[in-house]
């Protein structure tokens, strides 16, 4: 199975290299390191969000409210910054994480305690959190001139040759990698996605684990809220509207099975990078946004087809055994 995952990620990596190669034929500067660093930085927020979504999807759930959570939390920290510019940025980041955690915990509690399917819960909170943004802001925007320069420049500061935003993404990727491969909760997340019943018997609390993954995706949504607002320097009710679909698309392209249980940190990161490259490169080489959408859409379908083929391979092994049995 491990080889199989590797196989799938290498496939995706090969696709990305091919894509970069193709773009380079039209836009020679694309593959140079400075530009690739730029693409990575531009994709950082999507990568972080895709990781948060990944842990949810692994448990056979989905979080549709991530973009709304991002919008709400972003608005809260932007308003705080506008009203109290003295609050240091690390404190604002902690606040963003906590606000996101609360929103995620609400999803998690509804899924855990009331046993409502997550798609229904988060479809509801998708609307509620965006509505709440309107309520706290009164529909007003927070513009760049209302934000402190620290607020805006924190993520842009260069550190060892990369912007802080890229370092945050790298730290989150590393953290998720450790959590998924080296901790009890990471193992539990995989196990309940593959076989919830066997997990119950093995002493894993499935409901509590689902609650935890929604807390994780909530915190990620909150963190991304600050990063997004300080990057695009505007907070409004419309921020990241519909972006939850890009997040899910990144996961699907990255080989994370919507049916749960299958997926890896590397896959989610590569899936996000793939989308990031498409949205960065195509405008530069004069491909219309409509083609961009078509290409992203085709990538999703292609990824699902390839993954389904992969799963069929696996199925064939089981079948062969069923024959012998």
């Amino acid at each position: 199975m491990k080889n199989f995952f590797k196989y799938r990620e290498i496939w995706l990596l090969a696709g990305i290299v091919l894509l970069i190669g193709l773009i380079s034929t039209r836009f020679p500067g694309f593959a140079n390191p400075a530009n690739l660093r730029q693409v990575f930085n531009d994709t950082s927020i999507l990568m972080i969000l895709a990781l948060g979504q990944m842990v949810v999807i692994l448990t056979r759930s989905i979080d549709l409210s991530m973009a709304s959570n991002l919008c709400f939390t972003g608005m809260v920290v932007a308003m705080l910054n506008a009203a109290h510019p003295a609050i240091p940025i690390p404190a604002l980041i902690v606040i963003a994480l906590l606000v996101g955690l609360v929103l995620g915990a609400i999803n998690g509690l509804l899924v855990w305690r009331l046993n409502i399917p997550s798609i229904v819960v988060t479809l509801g909170t998708l609307t509620i959190y965006r509505g709440a943004t309107f309520v706290v802001s009164g529909g007003a925007w927070v513009n760049a001139d209302q934000m402190s320069s620290d607020f805006i420049n924190f993520q842009r500061a260069a550190f060892l040759g990369l912007p802080v935003l890229s370092w945050i993404a790298i730290a989150v990727i590393a953290l998720f990698f450790v959590v998924m491969t080296r901790t009890q909760i990471g193992r539990s997340i995989h196990a309940i996605g593959v076989n919830p019943t066997a997990s119950v018997y093995a002493g894993i609390d499935v409901g509590r684990t689902k609650f935890i993954v929604f807390c994780i995706s909530g915190m990620i949504g909150g963190l991304a809220g600050y990063l997004w607002i300080s990057r695009y320097v505007i907070a409004s009710v419309e921020v990241a509207n519909g972006y939850e679909l890009n997040i899910i698309a990144a996961c699907v392209i990255g080989g994370i099975s919507i049916a749960g249980g299958i997926g890896s940190v590397g896959g989610a990161v590569l899936g996000a990078l793939f989308l990031g490259i498409i949205s960065n490169a195509l405008p530069v080489i004069n491909i219309s946004p409509f083609w961009q959408m078509a290409i992203s859409g085709s990538a999703i379908i292609l990824a699902v087809v390839l993954n389904a083929r992969g799963e069929r391979r696996q199925g064939r092994i089981i079948l062969r055994k069923a024959e012998a049995a």
Partner: protein, 519 residues
């Protein structure tokens, strides 16, 4: 469909000596071979089904029975060999073609549609239509009722949703469907696996009915009493080859078992000298609002306590409560004199009680995870330090228990899904032993596995108790209960009906107690 063709035909197969042939076979398979990459599933096998007769297909797991059923139902194509129906060579290139020839299979878990009505299930794909081409519901319901009545199953309402029926009634619907398409060959693949005694009796009546209607029936079962009860002929497979066939009245159980395993199975159950100590687990007054009431028993050190009862008597439910998976409303559980109140499976595992559930696939192994992760799954609290896994400890835990069980795998990082059923069972057992339990509850430990693997599981149970563990074995198989238990608790309708010492205990007593028949 030409049902008169059978009178014109002649058998192409040389007749085995000593068989009386009441009529020509309806279906003949000859020289069938089928291989899958790395596995030779069937080699040059033959099988004949006769109208109005039940043929039992007997063989251990892995003998090739399921593959043959799939060839007969058009799901697989044989690599070599010939299929003839009523003497005419036929190809079954698809499930649809097999259906067209009147071949229908009723599986262990019936493949029907839970959310459709009984009538829709019976007529799905061949529903009567009005002249406008839309489904004629009135006729469909009427026909459904007629079919059910001819089967003496008039108690099933044609409008009920299938999911509201019990398994036995679902089987009736599956048979009704077979009747409605004028099926002439009915394959029953372990139809009794999930049925109670009474339901099995009803199924047998139904098979008698199919015989009287002149259907050719193939009956696949692991249970000899059922085979002798209902079948006329037998065909024995071993390792993908046909090793014997004939009339059941001419063959003893011992002869057939010898054919199946290719050797004499003298004593299937291990001889052991139980050393029974002080009570380990005491349960008193354990009750659940709907599933069981006032359950009390003691399990002693080094003892195998059998739990017998009809399916649905509440045995598994009691065990799940003891294992912390479901909650109880009243009662006490104490382990080595300490009262425990498990609120989750993790609590029970911590206390030293593990429950090995019945369905290996669904409740046991986690397919997609490597072997070592499966083994360590319930022990993660021990192999990790404040939430961080220690892979080296996991590996050594997995290695020590899988070695003890002689697991055959190339590496512990291999996906459990690639192991054979018997080896998967070993992974499940290793996983529970690795939690270092005091009490191990085995729910139907040998259900649906072959005789060789059964003996291994029984031997292993004997070893466990010899080492001072205590075992509760929930089983619906009388030989297993009588062969393995030191004492037997019999449950009936959620209550304990009796507890027996297994000394001179006979099967009849147990069955009577379980069924509530007063002697």
């Amino acid at each position: 469909m030409d049902t008169t063709a059978q009178h014109k035909m002649e058998t192409e197969r040389p007749e085995p000596s000593g068989l009386s042939q009441p009529s020509a076979p309806r279906l003949t398979l000859s020289g069938i071979s089928k291989s899958f990459p790395g596995v030779r599933a069937l080699h040059n096998v033959s099988l004949s089904l006769y109208p109005g007769q039940v043929t039992a297909l007997i063989g251990e797991n892995g003998a090739g029975k399921s593959t043959l059923v799939k060839i007969m139902t058009g799901i697989y194509q044989p690599d070599a060999g010939e299929i003839s129906i009523d003497g005419q060579a036929t190809a079954l290139p698809s499930a649809h073609a097999a259906f067209g020839h009147g071949i229908t299979a009723i599986h262990q878990e019936t493949v029907l549609f839970d959310d459709l009505s009984v009538a829709e299930n019976i007529f799905l794909g061949h529903a009567p239509r009005t002249r406008f081409g839309i489904i004629d519901w009135r006729t469909m319901r009427k026909n459904a009722r007629e079919v059910l009545e001819t089967m003496r199953a008039g108690h099933i309402d044609a409008d009920t949703r299938l999911k509201d029926l019990g398994i036995a009634n679902k089987h009736l619907v599956a048979v009704a469907r077979a009747m409605s398409i004028d099926a002439r060959i009915v394959i029953m693949d372990e139809p009794t696996a999930a049925l109670s005694m009474k339901e099995i009796e009803e199924l047998f009546l139904l098979i008698e009915f199919l015989k009287s209607e002149g259907k050719a029936v193939l009956f696949i079962s692991h249970k000899f009493d059922e085979i002798y009860r209902i079948a006329d002929r037998y065909t024995v497979f071993r390792d993908g080859e046909m090793v014997g066939e004939g009339l059941l009245k001419d063959a003893s159980q011992g002869q057939i078992v010898r054919m199946m395993v290719g050797r004499n199975v003298d004593h299937i159950f291990p001889q052991r000298e139980p050393k029974i100590g002080a009570p380990v687990l005491s349960v008193a007054g354990l009750s659940h609002p709907t599933e069981f009431d006032d359950i009390g028993f003691e399990l002693r050190k080094g003892e195998i306590l059998g739990f017998y009862g009809l399916v649905g008597a509440g045995r598994s439910e009691v065990m799940q409560a003891i294992a912390g998976i479901t909650r109880t409303s009243r009662g006490t559980i104490s382990l080595e004199g300490q009262a425990i109140a498990p609120k989750s499976a993790a609590d029970s595992i911590e206390a030293g009680i593990v429950y090995v559930p019945e369905e290996r696939g669904k409740q046991g192994v986690v397919i997609g995870l490597p072997i070592f992760q499966n083994v360590s799954l319930p022990s993660l609290r021990r192999t990790s330090k404040s939430g961080v896994l220690r892979l080296a400890e996991e590996f050594s835990l997995a290695r020590s228990y899988t070695e003890r069980l002689d697991l055959r795998a190339s590496s512990l990082s291999q996906d459990v899904g690639t192991l054979s059923g018997g080896n998967q069972q070993k992974v499940v057992i290793a996983k529970w032993l690795a939690t270092a339990p005091k009490v191990i509850i085995l729910d139907e430990p040998t259900k649906g596995i072959d005789i060789g693997s059964k003996a291994a599981v029984h031997g292993f149970m004997a070893e466990l108790v010899a080492q001072g563990l205590s075992v509760i074995m929930v089983s619906s198989e009388l030989p297993e209960i009588l062969g393995m238990s030191d004492r037997v608790v019999v449950m009936r309708e959620g209550r304990i009906a009796a507890t027996y010492d297994n000394k001179g205990l006979d099967a009849e007593t147990l069955v009577r107690t379980a069924a509530g028949i007063v002697a």
